[in-house]
Symmetry: C2
Subunit: 353 residues, 2 copies
């Protein structure tokens, strides 16, 4: 008897549809090897195209259709002609929130065989994780506009931080730090953002007391962004609010030379609801449809999914294969300076698996 | 008859007191050469020390004491033992706001003789300016906390963007772009921040229509931070909200290898009130009192001040001397990998002036 996992596949827009099939190929190989099976449900038309046709990114009962799945694998969302706040708030963000995926986890690693744009970012030395709060904070529907179109027009945006919301992501981050290198850095801006960020700092100090084995510090987001460039090897776990985590994780992926490779997990740690896994890269309309997208972001995301589903050995097979294909071959997609197609890159990776 | 300019000197905390005297030495040399004079008023005890003693960073009539000055030169603010939001909101931010310094201007340049941590950041190629909105946006006193200390505690923070406030900084940035390379990049996050950032984007589009000679684009802050590392040479003028400008300008200074060199101008372009000039670096408590701080940030800030006061040739003398001391000598303070003292570095620069 093998465990079966029900997986929702949402390709989304642009290259999203080109990077999910490679991830699925890899998953199927590993299922056979490690004795589990995956059954897929595809939601191919949940996309900007659908929005333009029907006025919604997904059906009205979309969230309910996903509810009984064990995990969601998403390609990419966003396409020219649909404002980003429409496409994202019509699909990605409702999934993150309905399924209480309050942790956004983004590993950052410099691989051998990848040229980092940053001199100090050497393979083996840079290996950290950004833990981003994923459900509240600066991404909030609270706010609006007054005097639209008049000289006295104003827009206000509320950032909302709750004790419960911050505490749970801090607990996740401190626990992770205690299992990794024992170090945690909190991103703050309590010198400029005077209501929410001092509260964040206070909760970090409070939670730190329960994790005496973790050495922690805090850095203002401006200085921290600078340090990602100046001393990328010094981080272990970085915990940040929704917005700061978004900025830091993209920046860190760039520092590691791996925007096309970086994965993200949107986790509901309690497993009350499905978690969602997605590459960090966007829908890349400029190269969509050409079959040259880098599949590694989606494949590494699939590895994070397997880890979450209880198959850490299978997950490690994938990250080992990614490490090998980069270190031992010079086959590369265009974003990494090569000429390989998505299919060629995937085939080579599966060969090394 | 020579013009006299009344300058307020606020050393502030830590190395602030060590970097202002070098700036003053340089200013005096240039006054003699270019036929203007500067008279100084020093506010030596406006600092965290004063706060700890008297409960305020500056006297109650502090702002009024500065009102009749032509410009303010500030060292650095912030010291251990005083929470940053207290020290900053007790001195720096009230000055920015009372004197309606709505533009924060931060030039980014890679100098010959400075090792950038980023491979693609070559001298002569990276030369851009961050124009940061400096009076509203995410830095706001609007907000607060509810249920303090209880499980249901929340903190809210309002970001406030006004049409007038955004438009004036955009006009400044577009005008600057039209005088420089004719290119402008707007930092946004309208995919995640759904009320204020789409408003920002809309105002950029509106103002762009009045500057057909400027080619502009917009980037989400996460992608833009990544591009600062991946393609730093591609920028000319970058315009950003208060928070985004803060993050981007620190990041850019790191990319340029020059946190200790970077200057900032807090401008009231209408000249209704004094503008303020300050190095980007902080008070650096770890090296304060040792006489080894890098004076170039304060000296370059003094150059921006001279430019604002109507002495562009004198300002250029300073930036030329900074360029020379870095390109033609290997005298360096510790932050730049050398062993020179603040005084030795300053003397060499004055020799080259
Ligand atoms: C100290 C802090 C409030 C300040 C800011 O964020 O504005 C500083 O980082 C700066 O950039 O001048
Ligand atoms: C597309 C956007 C809303 C999203 C975010 O900012 O959360 C993306 O940048 C990400 O990081 O997943």
């Amino acid at each position: 008897m093998t465990t079966n996992h029900r997986i929702a596949l949402i390709p989304g827009d642009g290259i999203g549809a080109e990077v999910l099939p490679p991830a699925r190929q890899v998953l199927d190989v590993l299922g056979r090897r490690h004795g589990f099976s995956l059954s897929y449900t595809s939601y191919d038309d949940w996309s900007c195209e659908r929005y333009l046709r029907e006025g919604a990114m997904m059906p009205a009962d979309g969230i309910d259709q996903l509810r009984d799945k064990d995990a969601i694998l998403l390609g990419a969302v966003g396409y020219p002609g649909v404002p980003d706040h429409v496409s994202l708030w019509g699909l990605l963000i409702p999934i993150r929130r309905s399924f209480r995926q309050y942790v956004n986890l983004r590993p950052i690693r410099v691989f051998e065989g990848i040229d980092s744009p940053v001199r100090g970012a050497r393979p083996g030395e840079v290996d950290f994780v950004v833990v981003r709060e994923n459900m509240e904070g600066e991404y909030s529907e609270v706010g609006g506009r007054l005097n639209r179109g008049f000289p006295d027009e104003i827009a206000v945006q509320e950032a909302v931080f709750t004790r419960a919301g911050v505490t749970r992501v801090l607990d996740y981050a401190f626990t992770l730090a205690s299992q990794r290198g024992g170090r945690l850095t909190s991103a703050t801006k309590s010198n400029g953002i005077v209501h929410t960020m001092p509260f964040w700092d206070q909760l970090v100090t409070e939670r730190a007391a329960s994790f005496p084995q973790v050495a922690w510090d805090q850095e203002h987001i401006d200085a921290l962004a600078a340090k990602f460039v100046l001393e990328p090897a010094r981080f272990d776990v970085v915990v940040a609010s929704n917005l700061f985590g978004d900025i830091l994780s993209d920046l860190a992926a760039a520092v590691a030379g791996s925007i096309g490779i970086a994965p993200a997990a949107n986790l509901n740690p309690e497993r009350d609801f499905p978690s969602m896994f997605e590459p960090v890269h966007g829908s890349a309309p400029d190269i969509a449809g050409q079959g040259i997208a880098n599949p590694l972001g989606a494949i590494w995301s699939a590895a994070m999914m397997l880890d979450h589903l209880g198959h850490p050995a299978a997950a490690r097979d994938i990250t080992d294969a990614i490490t090998s294909v980069l270190a031992k071959t010079d086959i590369r997609t265009r974003d990494l300076g090569g000429t390989a197609t998505t299919a060629e890159f995937t085939d080579k990776l599966i060969e090394l698996l």
